[in-house]
Amino acid sequence: MIRLERVEKYYGSHRVLRGIDLRIERGEFLAIMGSSGSGKSTLLNLIGGMDRPEKGNVFVDGDNIAAYSDDQLTLYRRKRVGFIFQFFNLLPNITVFENIALPLLLRDSTDTSRVKMFIERMGLRGKDDAYPYQLSGGEQQRVAIARAFVHDPDIILADEPTGSLDSETGMMIMDTIRQVVRETKKTVILVTHEPYIAEYAERIARIKDGVILP
């Protein structure tokens, strides 16, 4: 369970988040919507442990990650979070297989059976040894999804995962995400501009001027 209490985030003197209170249950699929610059990505970064708020608490299963040290945050991300980005953000110089295996490798795990499984699931068979630039956008995003799930994290954070794909491919990607999430019972927080994408979620939270609209 994730719980944000009066979370405030500043960039210099610019207050981007002005007291966010938000509760996300374990296994919940939440969509966050809001206009550009409203602070969605900032919020996701706080939950994902990429950043700490200036004020307020971020509880993840009872632990306040806002009080974590850098090292603790790193470990938290490595073990518990999976990120999916708009621009895929695959590492260009390693193969599809290695990109997917990366989170496992970071935990010194040598068991690659899950990598193979996700390659199959994502319909990437035969692309193991390809490099990211040899894939289409949809394929790259599927690699990114596999990478987000491979180490079995509890929380999946997706920042406009379909933003740079056409609507058909976008829906296909969303179908895949929903399917995997249902099976694995993961908490998903999805940021999107598109209402039809938001519909994949169980609940929609709207953010405006740094606060969650009731």
Partner: protein, 854 residues
Amino acid sequence: MTFPRLLKMLVIRNIREDKFFAVLSVIGIALGTGLFTGVKVASDRAISSFESEIHGISPVATYEIYDSAGTDFDERVYPTIRRISPDSLPVIRTFGFLPAWKDAIDIHGIYSLKAARFLRRGMTGAGTGRGALFSALDWESFYRTENGVFVPKELCDRYLLKKGDTMEAFVYDRAVTLTISDMLPAGTLPGTTVLMDIGNFQDAFRKTGLLTRIDLAVDEGTAGEIRAILPPHLAIAKKEELIENRKGLVTSFRYNLQFVSLIAILVGVFLLYNTVFMTVVKRRTEIGILRALGMERKTVIFLFTAQGLLLGLVGSLIGIAFGQLAAYFSVIAVEKTVSTLYSTIAISDYLLSGRDVLMSLALGTCISLIASLVPAYEASTIRPHETSREGSFEGRYRPYERALACAGIASIVIGISLAYLDYRYAPFSFPLLAYIGILFMIGGFTLVSPFTLVLMLKLLKRPAERFFRSSATLSAGDLRGNAYRFSVALMSVATSSALIFSLLIVIFSLRGSLQSWIDRNITADIYIKPASCKANYCFAPMSEDIVRAVESIPEVEAVDRFRGLHLDLFGKKVVAGFFDTGVKRTFLQRRHRDREYETVLREMENGEPVVGISEFLAIRHGLKKNETIEIQSPAGPVPFRIIDISSSYSTTSGYLAFHRRWLKTLWGLDDTTQMSAYVKAGADVGDVIAGLKARLLPSYALEIMNNRELRGKILDIFNKSFAITYAIELISIAVSLTGVISTLLSLVIERKREIGILRYLGTDWGQIRRTFVLSAGCIGITGIMLGTVLGLLMSLILIHVVNTISFGWEIQFRIPFLFLAVLSGLVFLTTVLAGSLPATIAKKIDPKRFISFE
């Protein structure tokens, strides 16, 4: 008008942003061109000092008469010559040494009136007004004062001397006080030439009735006429030919140093290439956009070439200042080397001329043009949409990997073949082919390096992943994906370690060989030579008093009197040494057992005309043992059988070793130019030397050394004459190691985004650091491997081709394994440290900036 704007926007901003790399490449270019210019200036000045030495004070002289053995000759031949050609100037000259400033001067004894006439004749042609200047001098003091001399203003300025001052000088075997009768205006004569009246000279230095040469302003016909009447020991030769002959002395020195500075230039080119290439990579988005907006390809090429040229220009401007500094030190080095290995040479001018400056600028501009054209061309091939596809920039080189490797191997093979050709046939008097061969090899290794890196990755990846897990995967991906850029770093490591290795192997081998030469040759207890002679071999005889004094000391068991002569061999001057082989042989075994040499010495004593020659001559003229060579003597050519060929580390112009008896029978001489003495068993060498000094030094200026001192001095001379080479190589090494840091650093700057991604994935700083260090380590190991192979090849060529051709020194190839291992370790450590530096910088990057805001 848009071009300057673009220039400012892209080029100037790039330079400002990447100050570090810009500065590095500027330094690289500056060092390279500076060294090159410095060395060129030094050898040019050496040559012009030969020219002025041979021309002497008579600019119109075309021929000179000299004794072919290099000794002074009887002046009674002069009246006959004068009858044929009144335009003749008899000269007696010698080198003096100013102990106060450790500087050499060239003392000419001249017939003043005749000289003035001779010069005035030269004046009509050249219009220098020398004659007029001469008449204004204080001739009164010149004639009257004891040891009165005219000294060039340059020399006076340098040592703050003025008319009427005196200076202490070692001349022949004595110390004398010269009085400055007047100053010669600047520019009249070379800065080290000192004039003395010939009568005073002969009188003061006990050379009555002797001349060193007669300068003649004659045409070929008259020269032939004179040749016909000259006694056999005298020769007449064209000044131009003598100069040409002399130039050979500095050629090897010049080309060796220029080659080393070429390597420094190469390193500079590497750095500049890397800098421009990096900007191209960094700016590829902008280039893509500009191309999409309709910018022409040639404008892109132009822009990036401009960047390289700008850096190159700044580099070569700084290079001029550095070149001046380098010129100063190379002049000292040339002076030292030529003076000890051949005979005294005095260079006073080391300032860059306008032409040198232009050459240096042109060189810097050319190399920066070359270094930036390639990446500029690469930039122009970037397609407008290329930016969106990660990795494709490097990716398109992949198909050429094998082709490049093949070309590289071909180039290495060509390089080795060229060196081998030089080894077998030595078609030039300096090792040109070997040098070109080395360049080919370096080029070849550069071309092979991407392939080698990829190969190493294939080999190392699996085992590395077992130990380092994700870091290994990431590092391998990084290296593979940027193989071309990493190859630059790889070659930096490879060239610097190759330089270190070859240098060490050469030093080590040389020292070993030198040691055995010293063991064979430096066997006496005491060594004595005139203090005015700073060369290894002296040619001006010492007073017989000195010899007698040494012989009369009861503790001295035997004396080896040595006589050095300059002889013509196949039209080139070589050094001939005449010594007492009996004494040498008797005492040879005291310090060192050398049966072979003993046999050689014994054979020399037999009375047969036999000679030992230096390897240099054997190589140059294809001579072998038991062949016969004709030695020109006053009594005509005499055939001598070669019985020994050995290295001579004491001269670079070829050496002939004779039994002393031939000096008397063929040249009619029985004097001594330097000597060594063996002390009776039980006697204390130190005491004997102290006694000798007490007895001789009041009246003579001599250098008296014991065995250990001489050995030390020889080693010291060696170290000094190699010092400049070491310095240049050290600079190249330092610059190439910075190349490693610069490449790794550039990769971090480019890799900001990827580091950001990794942070999102939960990578900790340790893992990121490990990734960089692994990459650096892999570069280090591969570079050291390539460097070892290249270094071995280079040292083989340096030792067996370059050394033998340019110095005639046969060197025993030895590898200092332990040293090399330690050094490889150090180089490896340096690269690893270089790898952790970027990791520290990576830490400052805010990952969110590169992920959230695309």
